[in-house]
C-alpha cells in the first residue's frame, strides 16, 4: 500500500508555549523574572522544536529556572551543571542545551567545570546570573562580591578579591562572552538569540539584582542619572560610543583604553575604537571586560564571538576517521579479533 507523507505545517511557537505550569517561587522584585521573560521571548524566535531544548542547572536561586520552562529540564547538583550539560550535548548533539548558573554555582563550587566546558568548547549556552551574593543560603559573600562587602559571613567586610567572569572566560580560551543586565530585556533577548546560534560554548553573564540580600548592587550602572554614562552597549563593527548624546567613546592610548569626548581636544569619531568581536586575539576583549565605573562605563553586549570547531564537531570528525581505519563493524567482530582458538 502506498503511503502519502503528509507534511504538517507546525504552528509557530509563542512566548506562552515556553512557560511551564509551575508556580514561580522567586522573591517579588527578583531580577530573575525579567531573565525568564527574555528567555521565553527569545526561544520562539529560534525555530528550534520545543522537545529539542534542554535547560540544565545546578543549585541556587537561579537554578530553579528549568522548572519554569516548558521544555526538557534537569535541576541537578551544586556547581555540576556544565559537566551534566556536557554529557547531554555529547550524547545528543542536535539538542539546544542551556545551562543556568549563579555566581556561587559557576565560579565557586563549580569553577572547575565552568572553565573546562569553555576550554573544550562544548556547544552549550551558559547563563551566569551574577548578583554578587549567595541568595538561597541567605546572604553570604560570593566569589564575585566586591572586597569590603559586609554580609552574614563577612561582618567586617569581605577581605577576598572578586573574580571577573569575563576574565575567566578569556583565561579558559572561551570564544563567546556577552554581558548583559536584568534591566535591559531587549538586550538580553537579542543576546540569547545570538548565543543560541553561536557554535561552541556561549557564556552570557547577566548582571542580576538580588532584591533581598544585595539590593542595588549593580545600581551604579542602572541608576537613571548614571546609566548613559556608565553603560557602553557595544556591537560588532560599530564604534564604541556612549553617553546620553553618544558623544563619548573609547580610544586606545598606548597600551591602555581611555574615555574621550567627540569634539573635545580635536577628537573625532574616527579616533573611536570600532568593536571587533570576531578577533581571535583576546587582548582588547580583555581590556573591555575589565572596564568599570566610575573611571569607565561597564561594557555590555557581545564582547567576544570567535568561531572555532565545537567539541562535538571534532568528535564527529574523529569518528569518521576511526570508522575508516577500523577492521571491526560490530561486537561479534571484536570478540573474534586477534588471537582466538578452538577447544574441541
Amino acid at each position: 500500500m502506498a503511503e502519502v507523507a503528509i507534511k504538517e505545517e507546525k504552528p509557530k511557537l509563542t512566548k506562552k508555549d515556553f512557560a511551564s505550569d509551575q508556580l514561580i517561587r522567586w522573591c517579588p522584585g527578583c531580577g530573575d523574572y525579567s531573565i525568564l521573560s527574555a528567555m521565553t521571548s527569545a526561544l520562539p524566535q529560534l525555530d528550534i522544536p520545543k522537545e529539542d531544548i534542554v535547560f540544565i542547572s545546578g543549585i541556587g536561586c537561579a537554578a530553579r529556572f528549568p522548572y519554569y520552562m516548558n521544555t526538557y529540564g534537569f535541576h541537578t547538583i551544586h556547581g555540576r551543571g556544565p559537566a551534566i550539560a556536557t554529557g547531554v550535548k555529547l550524547a545528543n548533539p542536535k539538542l539546544s542545551v542551556w545551562e543556568i548558573q549563579g555566581d556561587g554555582d559557576a565560579l565557586a563550587i563549580g569553577g572547575n567545570h565552568f572553565i573546562h566546558a569553555l576550554r573544550r568548547n562544548i556547544d552549550i549556552n551558559i547563563l551566569l546570573f551574577n548578583n554578587e551574593i549567595y541568595g538561597l543560603t541567605k546572604g553570604q559573600y560570593s566569589p564575585t562580591s566586591p572586597t569590603g562587602l559586609v554580609t552574614k559571613s563577612t561582618p567586617f567586610g569581605a577581605i577576598e578579591r572578586p573574580f571577573s567572569a569575563g576574565e575567566l572566560v578569556i583565561g579558559a580560551q572561551g570564544n563567546y562572552y556577552a554581558r548583559t543586565i536584568d534591566t535591559s530585556p531587549k538586550l538580553m533577548t537579542d543576546i540569547f538569540i545570538k548565543a543560541a546560534k553561536h557554535v561552541g560554548t556561549s557564556m552570557i553573564e547577566i548582571l542580576q539584582n538580588c532584591v533581598i540580600f544585595n539590593d542595588n548592587t549593580h545600581g551604579k550602572i542602572t541608576d537613571r542619572e548614571n546609566r548613559d554614562d556608565f553603560q557602553l552597549h557595544i556591537e560588532h563593527g560599530q564604534p564604541m560610543l556612549f553617553g546620553k548624546e553618544k558623544q563619548k567613546g573609547l580610544r586606545l592610548n598606548g597600551l591602555k583604553l581611555e574615555t574621550v569626548t567627540i569634539g573635545e581636544n580635536g577628537v573625532t569619531e574616527k579616533d573611536i575604537l570600532v568593536h571587533d568581536a570576531h578577533e581571535p586575539d583576546a587582548t582588547l576583549h580583555m581590556m573591555l571586560i575589565r572596564l568599570k565605573p566610575p573611571e569607565f562605563p561597564m561594557v555590555l553586549g557581545i564582547i567576544r564571538e570567535v568561531s572555532a570547531p565545537a567539541y562535538s564537531q571534532r568528535l564527529e570528525e574523529e569518528l569518521k576517521h576511526s570508522s575508516q581505519k577500523s577492521k571491526y563493524t560490530c561486537m561479534d567482530d571484536l570478540l573474534n579479533s586477534g588471537e582466538t582458538w578452538e577447544v574441541k
Partner: protein, 618 residues
Amino acid sequence: MNETLTNGKKTTVERDKVVLRFAGDSGDGMQLTGSQFSFTSALFGNDLATFPDFPAEIRAPLGTVEGVSGFQVQIGQVNIYTPGDLADVLVAMNPAALKSNLRYARVGATIIVDIDAFDKRNIEKAGFSNNPLEDSSLDAFNVVKAPISSLTKTALEGIQLDNKSIMRSKNMFALGMMYWLFDRPLTDTERYLDSKFKKMPALAEGNKKALHTGFHFAETIEALPSMYKVPAAKIEKGRYRHISGNVATAWGFMAAAEKMGKKIFYGSYPITPASDILHELSKYKHLGVITLQAEDEIAAVCSAIGASYAGQIGLTASSGPGIALKGEAIGLAIMAELPLIVVDVQRGGPSTGLPTKTEQADINIALYGRNSESPCIVLAASTPSDCFEFAYMATKLAFEHMTPVMLLTDGYLANGSEPWKFPKMSELADITVPMATPNGEAYLPYLRNKETLARYFAVPGMPGFEHRIGGLEKQENTGNVSYDPNNHEDMVKVRAEKVERVANYIPELKVMGEGKGKLLVIGWGGTYGSLHTSVSELWKEGKSIDHAHFNYINPLPKNTEQLLSSYERIIVCELNMGQFASYLRSKFPHLKFESYTKIQGLPFTVTELKEKFIDLLK
C-alpha cells in the same frame, strides 16, 4: 601426580599444574614476557590464570626493590582458578627482583637469575649484605645462574641495534629458556614480535634471536636437568580468547550498548587500576563509544548522568578515592531515577592507600556511601572474564529498573587475565528500557511499572514529553517538587522497594557442594578463584565443606537465607575487615557469621585458606 620420563639425556616431569613468576626492573619487560608465556600456553591448550604485580612508581630507580615488577602465571592440565600461591619457577632479572620475590618461591623451586646483573653495586642496591648466590641462603632452591645479559649481547652482535635496544631484548632470552623448560613452541611469540615490530625489522630480528638463544641455552646447560610437561587441560569446548578484567568490563558495556542500539558515554578521570577501561573504550568510537576524559571524578560521573538523561548509556569508573568524590552525583541519579553504571575497581585504601594492590574494602561505600536513604544495586564480578557478564548485567539492570548500579571489581581482576570462552552476541539476554509511549494523556515522569516500580522514561528530543526532573524530592507520578511529609516517606520507600524487587530478576545463589553440612565458605567478588580451589581440594579429601560465592550484593539473591540456614558454621572470607560479614549479619541477624580476613593488598593464597578451613572443621 609426578611422572619422570626420559627425553634423550634429559628427563621430563609431568605435572598437573605449574606456577611461574617473572620478576625484573619495571623497564625489563616482565609483563610482556609473562603475557607471552601465558598466551603460548593458552594456545597449547592449558588452562591458566595470571597476576601482574607491579609497583605504583612508573620507573623507580633501576636495581631497587621499589622498582621491581612481577608477573605470575599458573598453567595446568586441570582447571585453574588462581595464579597460584608459590612459584615452581622464578625468573629474577636482578638482585632486587630476587630479594623481593624470593618469598613467592616454594621450597625446592627452580630460580633462574641473570648472573650478569649480580655485581656489587646491584647487590647492595637490593639491600643484600652478601651476594646471595655465594652464601648458603638459597640452598633450599635449585638456582640456575644464567649469563642472560652477556649472552643476549653476544647473540645480537651484527644486528643493527643500539645497546639499549639489545639490552631490552634480554627478557626474550629469559622467555626462550622458559619455552624450552616447558616444551613450548616459539612460533606464537615470533609471530607476535613480527607484528609488533612490523616497522622496525631489526628489533623483530633481535628479539627473535634472543628468544632462540635463550631456548638453546636452556637445552644445553646441565643446571636445568629436566623439562616440565603440563599437557593440555580438558576444558569446555568452544572458541576461546585471552582477556583481562578491565578489557572484559569495557567489552561487556559495549556489548550491552550494541544490544540496546545505544551509544556508550564513558566519563572518566584517570586512576589506577581503572584507567585501562578508559584506554580500551577510547579505541572504539566507531562502535558507538564516546569517551570523555573529564576534568575530575565529579565531572566524570556528572557527564555520564547527563548522557543517560539524554538517552544514551551513562557510564563511569574509578577506584576508591574517585568513588568517594562521586557520591553526591550518584545520589542525584538515585533521586532523579536515571540509569547510571559506576564501576569501582577496588584498590588498597583508605585515601591513596596502595594504588596498585588489590583489596575488597569498598563494599560499604558501594552500599552506603551517599547521604540519606539512597540504595544502589550493587554487583561484584568474580573472575577476569566474568567482568564481561557483570558489566552487561549492570547495564541491563540500570536501564530496566531505572536506577544506578555499582559494579565492584578489583585490581586483581582488572589486571589478571585468563582464557575465556566468549559468547556470540545473539546469545546475550535482551535489554528492554521502559520507554514512555504516547497514550493521549500528559506524560507523568514518575508513573511506575507495577512490577519493577521503574518509572517510564522519556528523553529530550521526544515531542510531547517535555518535563522537568531534579534532585529535589518530587511528588509521585507528576515529578513536581514536593515538600509534603507523607509524600517524602512514600517516595523514600518506593525507591528502596524498587531496588529490593531487583531480586526477582537476578539468578538464585548456587552453592558448590552438598547444599548442607559442617562448613559453608562464603566469598564475594574477586576471591572466587582461591576460595573455589581451596574448597574443592578439601572436598576431594572428603571434608564436609561447601562454597557459596556472591555476585549480587544488593539486593541479595532471594534464596540466600534458605541456603545459609543449612550449615553448622559459616565463614565469610574477604580482603577487608569483614564488611560483607557485617552486611550479612544485618540482613540475617539470627544466623551466625564468622569472619576470615586479609588486608595485605594481596589475594588469599590457597594454602592459608585451606589451613583456616581445616582448623574450623576440627
